[in-house]
């Protein structure tokens, strides 16, 4: 179990004449990822979703808030003592092409962490080779074919599977998959998503799925939880299926409306929401962060910042003064 409370991160940009400018990347985010659970962070670039994923994987520091792994607050530990905990969270990179060392064979790539793991768990050296083959088979590739090869000899989909196998060498509790399918060929994406879902069920490993494409979040498990992030704030949170079917925050609705409609198979939703403006860099804070782009914003939105909360008879939490259900997602033609 990994939980975070009030995670805050500010990036300092070296500005020109005016000196350093502070850009808030995360504004007090709370989250919880259970063992074997599925959590998705959705948002556009600049939403802070990738930063949050890297903080959870221990690859980045945060400025305020607490991360608790297996009931141990990380702030209570020294940098050194924290490492074994963060090793239970493994990051799967977006780009399977740069995530594998081009000068090392797949065997070498898997051998190094497995040797370390063997030492940690007191297993014999002979365990390593068998385990490498076992892990590759688990991610759906033929060990005999892949082990002696270099990354450039494998397709994008196979490389991503190798990356996942490498992450599994540490017997992690949580896999953080950051845009893990965006660079994979379209016909193979579902295979990777199905693999993540399968690993949840078989190994009871939790999956934190980070993406800008909400549709993919459905495929890592229908019991998942969805966090919609906008400029470092969680604006809507709830069960994945629920939020896709009944979004109430206008930003979530904009994201869902932006997903292309497969004409011929689907009809567009009746109330698609289009933001009034494009996102700009360095927007001032104050009021609701989405107010300037929101087609439904009022004076209150410009002055007051809504907090994430749950109302009666709404299943999800949201941060909006004017929540309303709208049918924005495409409807199947046959339905």
């Amino acid at each position: 179990m990994i939980t975070g409370t009030g995670i805050t991160k500010v990036f300092k940009q070296r500005g020109g004449v005016l000196g350093a400018r502070e850009v808030p990347a995360l504004r007090g985010v709370d989250f919880a990822i259970a063992k074997g659970g599925a959590v998705s962070f959705i948002g556009e670039s600049g939403s802070g979703k990738t930063t949050l994923g890297r903080i959870i994987a221990g690859l980045e520091s945060h400025d305020a808030g607490e991360i608790v792994i297996d009931d141990v607050p990380m702030s209570s530990l020294s940098h050194r003592r924290r490492q074994p905990y963060f090793r239970r969270v493994q990051l799967i990179h977006q780009d399977p092409y740069s995530a594998l060392n081009p000068t090392r064979t797949i065997h070498q790539t898997l051998e190094a962490p497995l040797k370390l793991r063997a030492k940690q768990t007191g297993r014999p050296r002979s365990w390593v080779d068998g385990r490498a083959a076992e892990l590759l088979a688990m991610v759906g590739i033929d060990p005999g074919y892949v082990l002696p090869r270099y990354p450039h000899q494998l397709s994008g989909g196979m490389r991503q599977r190798v990356v996942i196998a490498r992450a599994l060498t540490m017997d992690p509790e949580v896999l953080v998959a950051d845009e893990a399918v965006s660079m994979i060929d379209v016909s193979l994406r579902l295979g990777i998503l199905a693999l993540l879902k399968d690993l949840r069920e078989r190994l009871n490993v939790g999956v934190l799925f980070i993406t800008h494409d909400i549709a993919t979040a459905r495929y890592i498990g229908d019991d998942g939880e969805l966090y919609v992030l906008y400029r470092g704030q969680v604006v809507e949170r709830g069960a994945t299926e629920k939020i896709i079917a009944d979004p109430v925050h206008p930003y979530t609705q904009s994201l869902l409306s932006a997903i292309p409609v497969l004409h011929g198979l689907e009809r567009p939703g009746a109330e698609r929401v289009v933001p009034r403006e494009m996102q700009r860099e360095g927007e001032p804070d104050g009021g609701c962060l989405f107010a300037r782009r929101c087609p439904f914003s009022t004076e209150r939105c410009a002055n007051e910042m809504p907090v994430l909360a749950r109302e009666e008879d709404v299943e999800q939490e949201y941060a909006c003064f004017h929540p309303r259900r709208r049918s924005v997602i495409p409807v199947g033609v046959g339905e």
Binding site: D95, A137, Y145, P148, G191
Partner: protein, 310 residues
């Protein structure tokens, strides 16, 4: 256990036996090197040239008597069958001088290259990988190294140190010359450490020793190898230059000293008699440089598995 979700890779376990042992990898590597070298005739030419010079360095002095014979009747003799490059001011065969002089030049070049590359790579890697305080400290050191005026310092040093052994010479040149490589390796390290596979290695908790030695270093191998080869030529030029300037003690079978004597004593720039004496060491240096440059061309392909196999 092996429920295959989507057997994308399970098409066919064709080709390649499961050769994953170190020995197999090493054998494949050298086979690849051979393949890369054979790909272009120019590379083979480079290998032949460098091999010839290496042979000269090892066996050259053994071919001739310790004291080369003089012939007072043939001072500055023109090229002939007996003396392909003529003779020098005391009638010694110029070719013999070039051949016996190769050992000192090559050993110095090699020693310099090893020292510059070892120091430069180590300092660059540590600075780039650890960043922060280490980086600041090591880079200030590098700046100092770069700021040392090499030639004046060597002039001063040569008044107290005779550089009789090529290794001493190489040590001095090497210690003076690692700054550039350190800077370059550091910037390479900085960009590589942002790559996914380095971050993954850190995330897996692999030891720093492994990350630097097994992940970073091989990715920079072509770069380092190229620098090493080019450092050899640099060192050859540097020491020949020093001897040419007459900074170092007189010893006739040294390429730099030969140039010095040909120009300042033999008047090779004004009279044709000493011209072969001048040209012989020049050609030797030129051909050696050419050989090295031709091999440098292959480095990218040798250390990149993709280019090596194709």
């Amino acid at each position: 256990m092996t429920v295959i979700v989507n057997p994308e890779g399970a098409i066919s376990p064709d080709a390649l036996p499961a050769g994953t042992t170190r020995a197999t990898l090493r054998r494949n590597f050298w086979r690849g090197v051979w393949r890369v070298l054979r790909r272009k005739p120019s590379r083979m030419a480079g290998v032949v040239i460098v091999a010839l010079f290496a042979l000269m360095g090892v066996a050259g002095p053994l071919l001739y008597p310790a004291q080369l014979p003089r012939d007072d009747n043939a001072l500055y003799a023109p090229p002939s069958l007996a003396h392909p490059f003529g003779t020098d001011f005391e009638g010694t065969d110029v070719l013999a001088l070039v051949v016996t002089g190769a050992r000192y030049v090559l050993l110095t070049g090699l020693a310099t290259a090893v020292i510059t590359v070892a120091l430069g790579t180590l300092i660059g890697l540590v600075a780039g990988f650890h960043r922060g305080r280490w980086d600041t400290l090591l880079m200030r050191l590098t700046d100092m190294n770069l700021a040392i005026p090499g030639l004046p310092l060597l002039l001063v040093l040569s008044t107290v140190w005779k550089f009789e052994s090529p290794l001493e010479m190489g040590l001095v040149l090497g210690v003076l010359g690692w700054g550039g490589i350190a800077r370059a390796v550091r910037s390479q390290t900085l960009s590589l450490r942002e790559r996914g596979f380095i971050e993954a290695a850190r995330g897996l908790g692999l030891p720093t020793r492994h990350i630097i030695g097994r992940e970073l270093l091989p990715s920079m191998a072509p770069y380092i190898a190229m620098n090493m080869l080019i450092a050899v030529t640099g060192a050859v030029y540097a020491q020949v230059g020093l001897f040419f300037l007459g900074v170092l003690p007189f010893e006739s079978n040294n390429w730099g000293v030969m140039l010095n004597l040909a120009v300042f004593n033999g008047g090779a720039l004004t009279t044709p008699a000493a011209l072969p004496y001048l040209l012989a060491p020049l050609i030797a240096i030129l051909v050696l440089t050419l050989g090295i440059v031709l091999i440098v061309d292959a480095m990218d392909e040798i250390f990149n598995p993709r280019l090596r196999e194709e």
